[in-house]
């Protein structure tokens, strides 16, 4: 029985008051769908104003709310080379001063009415959006007119936004997802502006003239689209628009058409080496077609099957079946000039190669095999089912309509979406997949720990390696080159170290160390107290050459017991450790039994051996360090970066300033230039925590 009949039969049963349903009627399988309710898109009317501004109004009077979206063909793709971020900055500044209003007056006005007004720029378009209650619509138009037509770009607001952008960028650029996305766009878009992204240098290079020129040439009524959705009529919207945009003329500067890029001849893999990364971020993809391509419906269905959600092939295999990842997805991105397809996932380092191979297999499969009818129908059902949820509110409607118009989709795209998706065939899905996904000529980006993954992925495709800044690396660069530090053993002598710990200038604790002579070498005992959070004693046993023999640590970190008991013998380190994970703060308990190369130090031994390093301007050492608490051997680098005066007690002492990179938080050390080379001060890079020697 078809689902329609079943639904009708159930309804009949209820209406005719048939026998009361008992628990025996409780279905043991998910009930079938009822007939699809038609979801008509609200009617919309279009009009062009005398100044060339296209107006589109979608009426819906269910709630007294109106959503406005004013868009221009002026996105990141028109940022001049070296000034990436211009469109985005200009958008952010439009509401920070316009006409006779300051930023504060604008926010007072719109927020005073309980509404919102904001602007942003994507790759292709800049949009100003506002949502208000109907009674405030005239105010919204008045403000919209001001910010679009006569923004003032005050210098103080420019600098404030620049500072905020730079802070945000600083964080974003360390995130592997951002690194992967940028590398992917560079790989597929070649010389086209879609490949470029804002960087600190480009954001710093943007001037007020750039912003003013951007506005003057690109934010004009000709080429712009104004969409008004909600409790409004065309006549009213037109009247308000005519008044708000009075005197505004001109056409937005043309956007250079997308050039033909050479087709990628074969798959290439770019490995972005992020030492110590516990996960790999993978992106695989290609260019597709311009936004107006009619294959968009087939592509949407193909994507739903492949990687469109929790019921998709990528999710089901990489996550549900193999537990390699929390998520694996794919997507077709629409761009005016040339769109792209990508499949992405984030996996544990150890399974990078397996996950990548499975991903490639799925990309191959979607183009080489017809999707079975059941799977195809499920994917289509998912898309058509979600349609009414995507047009519930005025701002959802405004965005859907604006998108379709701006990207040049068919005039009836939004209204006929469901029907067209329903009509997609398995052949069309396979054809668009073959044409656009192309796993044998794709760009693969892997951001992860090259030292651990390079050997296992190098046969998947030809590999080139870079660091996160883009500097080319060789496979040899991936392996840490650590050497045994040449110590000046004669400089080691019995001594006492005493440091006061200050947090943000206020005393927060102390650290004391004692270096003692023992029959077969040295012993360093360090006591640390940091408020109530850290109470720790560490004892290092070293042999006569300063090499590690044993380390014991006892104490509490944030109220939890943290202990280390590791001994070194015959080229191995063995023992147990429990210490807080630097990423999560949670106590990790581990058993250690690992090979250690000669010259491997403990993470506590640098401090003990400071006087024995051969300190000099420009000195640099790279050595392996076993952080027993984490069970990890990593290369650390200690490099002298300069000389400066340091306050110790009431006096000033000349010191070498050195940076120690490798520990979870990089450190800065100051060591007296005069012998004995004593550690005078330790600071944690970028944080208000300092250890200063007490004389």
């Amino acid at each position: 029985m078809s689902s329609m009949f079943r639904g009708a039969a159930a309804a009949l049963l209820v209406l005719t008051g048939a026998a009361p349903l008992s628990s025996q009627d409780y279905p043991k399988t998910p009930p079938a769908p009822g007939p699809l309710t038609p979801a008509p898109f609200p009617p919309f009317r279009e009009s062009v104003l005398p100044n060339g501004l296209r107006l589109l109004v979608v009426e819906s009077h269910k709630q007294p709310v109106v959503s406005i979206s004013l868009s221009f063909p002026a996105g990141a793709s028109v940022d001049p080379p070296g000034k990436e971020g211009l469109a985005s900055m200009a958008a952010g500044l439009l509401t920070k001063g316009a006409g006779r209003r300051t930023a504060d007056q604008i926010s007072d006005a719109i927020e005073g009415a309980g509404g919102s007004l904001s602007a942003g720029a994507g790759a292709d378009f800049l949009a100003i959006n506002s949502t208000v209650l109907t009674s405030s619509l005239p105010l919204a138009f008045e403000l919209l007119g001001d910010v679009a037509v006569r923004p003032t770009f005050p210098g103080s607001e420019i600098e404030l936004l620049r500072t905020q952008s730079l802070s945000g960028l600083q964080v974003a650029l360390t995130q592997p997802e951002t690194i992967a996305d940028r590398a992917f766009r560079r790989a597929i878009y070649g010389a086209h502006p879609y490949s470029r992204s804002e960087v600190p240098a480009s954001v710093k290079a943007i001037t007020r003239e750039d912003l003013v020129r951007f506005h003057r040439t690109r934010l004009r009524p000709g080429g712009a689209l104004l969409v008004v959705a909600g409790d409004v009529t065309l006549a009213e919207a037109r009247r308000l628009a005519l008044r708000a945009f009075q005197g505004w003329t001109g056409v937005s500067a043309a956007v250079t058409p997308f050039p033909t890029l050479p087709a990628r001849p074969r798959t290439e893999l770019l490995l972005v080496h992020r030492p110590g990364s516990v996960q790999s971020n993978i992106v695989v993809g290609n260019l597709t077609y311009p936004a107006t391509d009619p294959r968009t419906y087939a592509a949407t269905v193909a994507n739903q099957v492949l990687g469109g959600g929790a019921a998709s092939r990528l999710f089901m295999t990489l996550r549900e079946e193999k537990s390699w990842t929390y998520g694996a997805y794919s997507g077709f991105v629409r761009r005016k000039g040339m769109g792209n397809f990508s499949a992405t996932t984030e996996v544990r380092t150890e399974v990078t190669d397996s996950a990548l191979r499975e991903l490639m297999r799925q990309l191959e499969r979607i183009g080489s095999e017809a999707v079975p009818a059941v799977e195809l129908d499920a994917a289509k059902g998912s898309i058509t089912g979600s349609y009414p949820l995507s047009i519930e509110s005025a701002d959802q409607v405004a965005n859907a309509v604006a998108n379709a118009r701006l990207y040049g989709l068919p005039a009836d795209y939004v209204q006929t979406y469901r029907v067209r998706i329903g009509a997609v065939t398995a052949e069309q899905v396979q054809a668009v997949a073959r044409a656009t996904i192309r796993p044998r000529a794709a760009a693969i980006i892997v951001v992860g720990d090259g030292a651990k993954i390079y050997d296992r992925i190098k046969d998947i495709a030809p590999v080139s390696i870079v660091d996160p800044e883009g500097k080319p690396l060789t496979p040899e660069d991936l392996a840490p080159k650590a050497v045994r530090v040449d110590l000046d053993l004669a400089a080691l002598a019995v001594r006492r170290d005493s440091f006061v710990v200050r947090f943000n200038g206020a005393e927060a604790g102390w650290m004391r160390g004692v270096l003692e002579k023992t029959p077969d070498g040295w012993r360093y005992i360090e006591d640390t107290r940091l408020g109530a959070f850290v109470v720790q004693t560490t004892t290092l046993e070293l042999d006569a050459t300063g090499a590690m023999k044993a380390v014991k640590q006892t104490g509490k970190v944030q109220g939890q017991d943290a202990a280390i008991d590791v001994s070194y013998a015959g080229g191995r380190a063995k023992g147990t450790a429990s210490a807080p994970d630097p990423q999560t703060g949670q106590i990790k308990r581990i058993t250690l039994d690992t090979a250690v190369a000669a010259g491997t130090l403990d993470d506590n031994s640098v401090q003990a051996l400071v006087p024995a390093f051969r300190w000099a301007p420009g000195a640099k050492w790279t050595f392996n360090v076993l952080s027993a608490g984490q069970g990890e051997i990593k290369p650390w680098t200690l490099a002298v970066t300069g000389t400066e005066q340091v306050t110790v007690g009431t006096g000033q002492v000349e010191a070498y300033k050195a940076e120690l990179s490798g520990p979870s938080a990089p450190l800065v050390l100051w060591v007296s230039t005069a012998k004995p080379h004593l550690l005078l001060k330790i600071a944690i890079a970028g944080q208000p925590l300092e250890f200063t020697r007490v004389p």
């Binding site: 209820v14 349903l21 008992s22 628990s23 009627d25 409780y26 279905p27 998910p30 009930p31 769908p33 009822g34 699809l36 309710t37 038609p38 269910k62 709630q63 007294p64 709310v65 504060d104 926010s107 007072d108 006005a109 005073g112 009415a113 309980g114 209650l133 405030s136 619509l137 105010l139 008045e142 905020q164 964080v171 929790a310 059902g381 998912s382 898309i383 089912g385 979600s386 349609y387 009414p388 949820l389 519930e392 509110s393 005025a394 701002d395 200038g505 940091l530 408020g531 959070f533 850290v534 944030q558 807080p580 630097p582 990423q583 999560t584 703060g585 938080a665 970028g686 925590l689 250890f691």
Partner: protein
């Protein structure tokens, strides 16, 4: 144009000068609903709307972290995970696949007072949403392996959300220092619970918790949107009617309203790269007459570009790169709540300076009160949010549930907004003086990095 619109446009023009025009009487539309109870105690609220093609199914269980005893924290939240692991007729993880295939979206959440589970679906899949909720209410699969898996998932979630996100620890755990752990333990511990308690829990404990709290007499089912009422009532009877009721759950003990006295703590945060400050004050339970005042006060102090904290602390003095103020961040509760501010330092600003800047703004508000313009703005923001949210079926369902649990009657969804609009400048001054006192406060100084 009708006279109301004409008046609106006149007022709109005047508003350009006054910047805070009192919007004309734009009231939220009435939500029509009916409510009834099944013999097994399940409360049902139905709010049909044939003008949409969406339907929302929303179940609230009257269980949250407030129902947890010492040594047993984290159960309610753990349950939320277990509820997606399959039931008698639904395979593990099948729940979200079924909803996704239907084109719907779904989720669940736990807070101190309640656990909710909801689906928004195209209206021809209403039966699927109801059936999935019924199947897990009647027959959740609780096995040793399921429980162990979900315990791991909860730990992983804790790592990702709380431990891995900067500033989250202070919000998810630190703020509970405000509450009185001896007299009101239910509201004095975090929702995610202690890993030690979860590690010590056994499968029979978990099963007992489920049997007691996940029962029809402890639940409210709300359906909003495009459905036929008689047919839906019949479906609800068919799916939920024979689920047996459970014994009444024990009452929640909360003897003293708050802890007392100012508290000040340093909160190390390994994930934060810049210092932050949380400033929080104890406030009464959600149904108190003072709560609408407190919510409007939070808007004026710290929501939006024109808020006081944003103007002075962020823009003028540049102490913070961002800050907000919220009342009851995790939602209303039947027990004591809080109003809290979170600010993140700009580079080079010490947590002490930031705290001083924030405290000064709070003190200024206590001293001077707020202006009529600010109060009107907050009311307009509240009204706009209410109206825009009501465009979506799921939001209406949640509003009905909240009114039922926290205000005692779903009809409050149609009247509660009037309490907000009735607040006066004098009310704000009184309430600020009463609650925003240093001796009623908690200060958390969030320090970047844990140990050196």
């Amino acid at each position: 144009m009708d006279s109301r619109r004409r008046l609106a446009s006149l007022v709109g023009l005047a508003g350009i000068l006054a910047a805070t025009a009192v919007a004309t009487a734009q009231e939220p539309a009435r939500i029509a609903f009916e409510t009834y109870q099944l013999p097994n105690g399940l409360t049902v609220i139905l709010a049909p709307d044939r003008t949409t093609q969406v339907v929302a199914v929303d179940v609230w269980y009257d269980v949250g972290s407030r129902n947890e005893a010492r040594g047993r924290t984290g159960f309610a939240h753990l349950f939320e995970h277990m509820m997606f692991q399959g039931s008698a007729n639904v395979k593990k993880a099948e729940h979200f696949q079924l909803i996704e295939r239907a084109g719907g979206n779904m989720n669940g959440s736990t807070n101190e007072d309640r656990t909710n589970y909801y689906e928004a679906l195209p209206s021809n899949r209403l039966n699927l949403g109801l059936w999935l909720e019924a199947d897990r209410m009647r027959s959740l699969a609780i096995t040793d392996s399921n429980f162990a898996n979900q315990r791991e998932a909860v730990k992983e979630e804790r790592r990702l959300r709380v431990d891995n996100q900067p500033y989250a620890g202070a919000l998810f755990e630190g703020v509970y220092a405000l509450a009185d752990s001896t007299g009101c333990f239910p509201y004095a511990h975090s929702i995610i619970g202690s890993m030690d308690d979860l590690n010590a829990a056994k499968t029979p404990d978990v099963k007992a918790f489920f049997d007691l709290y996940y029962a029809p007499n402890n639940a409210t089912l709300t359906v909003v949107g495009d459905f036929d009422t008689p047919a839906t009532k019949a479906l609800i009877q068919q799916y939920f009617g024979d689920i047996p009721r459970a014994p009444e759950a024990p009452p929640v003990e909360c003897r003293s309203a708050f802890g007392t006295g100012a508290i000040r703590k340093v909160w190390p945060d390994p994930k934060a790269s810049l210092p932050g400050v949380v400033l929080a004050y104890r406030v009464p339970e959600y149904r108190s007459n003072d709560m609408p005042v407190i919510e409007l006060l939070a808007t004026i102090l710290g929501q939006g570009e024109s808020s006081r904290i944003n103007r002075t602390v962020v823009r003028e003095k540049k102490l913070a790169q961002g800050a907000f103020v919220f009342a009851n961040l995790f939602g209303p509760r039947r027990g004591p709540g809080n109003i809290l501010a979170l600010a993140i330092s700009n580079t080079g600003v010490s947590p002490d300076s930031l705290e001083a800047g924030m405290a000064a703004e709070f003190a200024r508000l206590v001293q001077e009160g707020v202006t009529e313009a600010e109060l009107t703005k907050a009311k307009n923001a509240y009204r706009t949010q209410l109206i825009t949210q009501q465009q979506q079926a799921l939001n209406k369902a949640e509003a009905l549930q909240g009114a039922s649990m926290f205000l005692g009657d779903p009809e409050a969804v149609n009247t509660n907004w009037k309490r907000f609009l009735a607040v006066t400048v004098a009310d704000v001054k009184r309430v600020a003086a009463l609650y925003l006192r240093p001796e009623n406060s908690l200060v958390l100084l969030i320090t970047p990095g844990g140990t050196p």
